[in-house]
Subunit: 194 residues, 4 copies
Amino acid sequence: MEKIADIRRREILESYYQVISKKGIEGSSIAKIAKLMGVQPSLITHYFKTKDEMTMGLVDFILEKYEEPYFYGISDAADYEKRFHLFLDGLFGLDRIRFVDAGAFYSCYCLTFRNPKIRERFGGMYDRFRTLLIKELTLYMNNGVIGKIDVTNTANAIMSLMEGLAYFERMLDAREYRNLCRSMKETVLRLVGR
Amino acid sequence: MEKIADIRRREILESYYQVISKKGIEGSSIAKIAKLMGVQPSLITHYFKTKDEMTMGLVDFILEKYEEPYFYGISDAADYEKRFHLFLDGLFGLDRIRFVDAGAFYSCYCLTFRNPKIRERFGGMYDRFRTLLIKELTLYMNNGVIGKIDVTNTANAIMSLMEGLAYFERMLDAREYRNLCRSMKETVLRLVGR
Amino acid sequence: MEKIADIRRREILESYYQVISKKGIEGSSIAKIAKLMGVQPSLITHYFKTKDEMTMGLVDFILEKYEEPYFYGISDAADYEKRFHLFLDGLFGLDRIRFVDAGAFYSCYCLTFRNPKIRERFGGMYDRFRTLLIKELTLYMNNGVIGKIDVTNTANAIMSLMEGLAYFERMLDAREYRNLCRSMKETVLRLVGR
Amino acid sequence: MEKIADIRRREILESYYQVISKKGIEGSSIAKIAKLMGVQPSLITHYFKTKDEMTMGLVDFILEKYEEPYFYGISDAADYEKRFHLFLDGLFGLDRIRFVDAGAFYSCYCLTFRNPKIRERFGGMYDRFRTLLIKELTLYMNNGVIGKIDVTNTANAIMSLMEGLAYFERMLDAREYRNLCRSMKETVLRLVGR
DNA sequence: GATGAATGAGTATTCATTCAT
DNA sequence: CATGAATGAATACTCATTCAT
């Protein structure tokens, strides 16, 4: 039984997210969010004292969404060989579900350049992701699925590949993107010594 | 013999660039640019009819700066072996000179999500870069410096690696970044069959 | 046996008084009062239907405080000569206790210019004070402590002197203020024919 | 030939003065001033960067008005006896022209409690007035029109009397006020030893 | 080529107040 | 008695833009 305040806050962040997706960070405003929600702007300031506070909320909102597929997308199959390929497909597969609008995500990423708190949040998220990758890679390494590697270094490389892939997704046509995905997967295979 | 108008326009874009670097796209305005230049805002509107027009100008300004090291950074050494390694260092070396403020660059990148014209500019820039990479890779391939590869595919992968590296640069500490650079270079070496 | 409602109203007025002292009438608001009290703004509206009503309450609160030293500060000594000098010291002495913050007091005084009800309250307070002065002066006159005077006129003059003194207190340095107090006392002595 | 900017600024201050007279400091706003002028609020911010800046301007505007009758109201008659009485009438006469709305004046006075700069302006004005009084009193003293007095002290007392008179003007009916004026004049006569 | 006056819509935030719980 | 949701108007100030000079 969630409190009404939490629901409202969530609603506001959801609307902020939609506005920022459509209009960008420079085109988003409390008034537009309120209009989308069908409430008065002052109601929003009732829940978030300042716009900065609300933006911090949005970053958390987005990073949570962004993180989800990584944390919950990993198979727990007993067969490590199979699990490894599922894992790779989860990272670079064409059917990878994108939970967060890329425009909104990069808008928030831009905030890291001037807002140390937001940079921390992004940093924290990537740390958690790196830790997850390391754990997973170590598992595969210890079970002979992949070769002996520097797991931290490899995790960083994988994250970089993923980021590059995401960045270029919309710059490429479907065929090029498909090739890039495959190429990335193969690159990872080589990186882990297979 | 440049006209005074061109000089002024350049000056304005330079100031816009500085403002966007410091305050982000959501914190930049004609008034702030004018203040930085020590002129009246209306002078800026005199040279750029609308803010959108000026922003288009800024994108070109930034992409030009961004492109420069790639186009002029490639060695023309006769020794292909040596040239190849200089080439790799140019892309992933620690001493790679960054000509464009990353915050400003990503702010402009964000605009591609809502402005098709700007997306075109970015797309064009990456096309030119891909063409350059393909030409260079083909040269190395034809001269036996690297193995038989799908050059387009490899060029895309290299661009992705570079982008991922740039994205994470400020999220990593110096040591991690150094390792990532080295790792990237090794990854490319494997991709090109060495 | 005071009701809780009366206590709360008193509490609210005390907080309003503090806020107006610190921020002035133009900087005071129900929200700030509520924050100072650690309650919700709506609680204040519960006790005072409108802000105007609360302001009326504040005026009474302040005038009551303001009046106090005059009403209770007068000696009841049997020796009229002595009592007269204590009386004078009470009005113009350096050790005169100020019960009301001058900033808050003048803020309320300003309201008399637009709010007839508030003007009445101030007028009533000054009437009571004048009556008191007249009574006291008559006593001294009838007992030969002072000469034959127009008591009403003299009371008005004394009030004016006091007001002028209060007005300039913070514009003068300590020495000047001390001299002014002494000068005022001497002026009164002359006015009452001594 | 005054510049348009100076005229506009003056116009704005005049309107601010009218609004503050009618609505008090707590009821005055840029929007109301603009409405009274028939212009957009943003035009006002064009001439005064902040409301505080405009308020500083208003204080100067009001003090200037307030000062005027004192500086220009003093007779330069050669007959000192006559000049002295004209001088007294100027200060306490019934026909004393009031140049400044009392409500607006006291609203500004209230600002001295929280704004040191404004306090300074008021202090400066009173200093100039005291200096003027001292000069005038010294003239009379040196020419035997009045007795030997402490001119500074007397100047302070006169200012206090005037302030008290102004403060109570609107609290008294016409007859009482007339009497108070006369009483004040007599008090001054006694203070200067006549 | 450049200034500065002016507009009108927009910004985040605060205001007093109402009402259901 | 007290909270907290919600409103709608107001606050100072900034925005991009136009236009006359």
